[in-house]
Point group: C2
Chain length 142, copies 2
């Protein structure tokens, strides 16, 4: 796996590209001269965590023939205060799962992702406490 980064301005705005040309952008904090033109790298780490876990959950529910209509994920993270570097201390991942899903299947999918399959979670959990919750939103009766 290979990623290349190039600078887009005279400060901290960077573009990262993968081997097939897909890109993401990062920027630095305004406190040091960044311009908020893109996600900060530590935010991007959380985005990768959510993206990674969403793949597991969608895949597992599909294998179990659970009709997932939609999925949303909210991630809240706390960082160490007054430390450099300021690692994450606590991360909470909440899943909103839409569709006529069985509660136990939904819970199992989320649990398998966070406790077993998600590579990003397995990396990040070495330095942060990761907790999770979920809610199943059943379709309204017609």
């Amino acid at each position: 796996m290979e990623i290349n980064l190039r600078r887009l301005d005279d400060a901290y705005h960077m573009e990262a590209s993968n081997e097939t040309g897909e890109t993401v952008l990062t920027d630095g904090s305004p406190a040091i001269g960044g311009k908020n033109q893109a996600m900060r790298p530590m935010q991007m780490l959380l985005a990768a965590l959510g993206g990674c876990s969403s793949i597991d959950v969608v895949y597992i529910l599909g294998k179990q023939r659970q009709p997932l209509d939609d999925i949303k994920i909210n991630i809240k993270a706390e960082r160490a205060e007054n430390e450099t570097p300021a690692l994450f201390t606590k991360i909470h991942v909440h899943y909103d799962l839409y569709g006529k899903l069985k509660q136990e299947k939904a819970e199992q999918a989320v649990r398998l992702s966070m406790e077993k399959y998600c590579s990003v979670s397995k990396i990040v959990e070495k330095t942060a406490e990761i907790t999770w919750s979920y809610e199943v939103h059943l379709p309204e009766e017609a």
Copy 2:
């Protein structure tokens, strides 16, 4: 810090947004039904690592009044084979630094980032061996 993810298709394509509305996209592997419409989450983790470290290097060289004209970063990573999850085992980060820079200042900036300041590096190094190298590209004589 808070990140929200929503699904963009009926498979693995997700959009993550931060509190100021900046977004990044992820997608799953074609092997499981993804469509290569965006970076994979583990690629995004490397992009975050490069973005994070670039901020340190630009900042440190700026503080030292070293005239950095441009910076490019190449990241190569190996993952565990035949394991689930497949964490990174080795990551090499190479910095190309352009400008009339003192070698020792360039090296110090990279070293401080990778060994001390970069939060993403400090998280990822718990599960992967991270190595680095750099090259200073002096301006051509006029």
